[in-house]
């Protein structure tokens, strides 16, 4: 299974990497349990920074698309195909829209929402 990264493309390199791994899973080029190259190997092969590949792997692991098994390496998650269909960005946008709509209907102003959101994001009230 080949992977191609275009450094002139405006899409971030780690996103290109994630998208291509997801595509490979969806079109059965990569099956559950298949081993992936190490971060260093892939970074060297693509002439990328180790941190870029590590970020892509970390986000894929968070989404349960891949799983790291210590010294044995990184593998495709058994539920990768189902999890590929879940778009976390879309889910966050949907949840935030619902929440903001309910705040507005309760009379909260946009500036109050922004301040509260900022406080929560920066852990000021926690």
């Amino acid at each position: 299974m080949d992977i191609t990264i275009d450094i002139d493309n405006s899409t971030p390199l780690f996103t290109q990497l994630m998208n291509q791994i997801k595509e490979a899973i969806l079109n059965n080029s990569l099956n559950p349990g298949a081993a992936l190259p190490s971060i260093r190997q892939l970074a060297n092969d693509l002439d990328l920074n180790n941190k870029t590949v590590a970020k892509a792997y970390r986000l894929l692991e968070r989404d349960s698309i891949i799983q790291a098994k210590g010294y044995r390496g990184t593998f495709i998650h058994p539920d990768a195909k189902e999890n590929c269909a879940v778009d976390l960005n879309e889910w966050v946008t949907e949840k935030l829209t619902e929440t903001i709509t309910s705040f507005r209907s309760s009379g909260v102003t946009d500036s109050e929402i922004r301040i509260a959101f900022g406080n929560v994001m920066h852990n000021r009230n926690n």
Binding site: I3, P37, L42, D47
Partner: protein, 284 residues
């Protein structure tokens, strides 16, 4: 002395094998590449002008011819010395000559490095490709050969320990063998790690070609490690059995074997007609 006649035959083989046979193979291969894949059709293969490669071929040929002549001179000189003195031949003679024989190969290796560096610098394409398969040691070498290399390393150290004991001192043979064999194996390990995890030297090389090259190199390194341990044990065994007069012959045979295992294996296993040269075409 019959042992010196044996040495002459083996040393003649060293001269011809390393300074005639393999250089001829390398030159024939280079000439075939230049003829079948010319710079106007495969520009990515030649980061320097065409004349640079033809001149390089000539220089490589002349250097090997000079070393070949030197070898024949040495061969005659050893023969004369042998008949006049009937003495034992120093085993450092084939080693010193082997070092000289290695100079053109070393220069070729340096030129290869600088060529790949220029190829990488000239590669302006924004697209980078990789294969999503891990490269693991046992994809390249059998567990048996891996185990044998470890066994021979340990056996060699234990063999010396049983004869000389162990002291951390430069005069202790076990210590010298332990340090030199460990350093050699560490160097081999670094090269193997480079093959498994390192950057692609040739930016255009096809994945299958890279894998073939890695398999040939890694296997060769493991075999070299086994042979080196075996050679050290045999040399020491010969000394213990008072067969010192065969040491020069053994040294020459061992040095030839390193070239057969290294360069020879690469030339044998990586066939020119199987290399994907299409990746070096303009716009490929």
């Amino acid at each position: 002395m019959p042992e010196n006649i044996i040495f002459h035959i083996i040393f003649l083989s060293q001269i011809l094998l390393i300074s005639y046979y393999y250089p001829k193979q390398v030159l024939d291969r280079t000439a075939a590449v230049l003829e079948k894949h010319p710079p106007d059709q495969y520009p990515k293969l030649y980061p320097r002008p065409h004349s640079f490669y033809t001149q390089g071929q000539k220089r490589y040929k002349v250097a090997n011819h000079v070393i070949l002549a030197l070898g024949f001179g040495l061969f005659i000189a050893i023969g004369n010395w042998d008949y006049s003195t009937s003495g034992e031949i120093n085993n450092m003679i084939p080693f010193a000559y082997w070092m000289i024989q290695g100079i053109p190969m070393l220069l070729l290796e340096f030129l290869g490095y600088s060529r790949f560096k220029l190829m990488r610098a000239a590669d302006v394409s924004g697209k980078r490709r990789a294969v999503l398969n891990p490269r693991r040691l046992f994809d390249f070498v059998s567990p048996g050969l891996f185990g044998l290399a470890i066994f021979m390393y340990v056996a060699c150290i234990l063999f010396f320990y049983s004869i000389h004991g162990f002291q951390i001192h430069p005069s202790n043979d076990t210590f010298i063998i332990f340090v030199s064999l460990t350093l050699m194996n560490l160097l081999f390990t670094a090269i193997i790690v480079g093959h498994l995890r390192g950057k692609k030297r040739d930016p255009h090389q096809a994945h299958d070609d890279r894998m073939k090259q890695s398999v040939a190199s890694i296997k060769s390194l493991f075999i070299m490690s086994v042979v080196a341990s075996f050679f050290i044990i045999t040399t020491e065994g010969m000394q213990a059995l008072h067969l010192d007069f065969y040491r020069a012959s053994l040294m020459s045979a061992y040095l030839q074997l390193t070239i057969v295992i290294g360069l020879g294996a690469l030339l044998r296993k990586i066939k020119l007609e199987e290399i994907d040269f299409e990746v070096y075409r303009k716009g490929a």
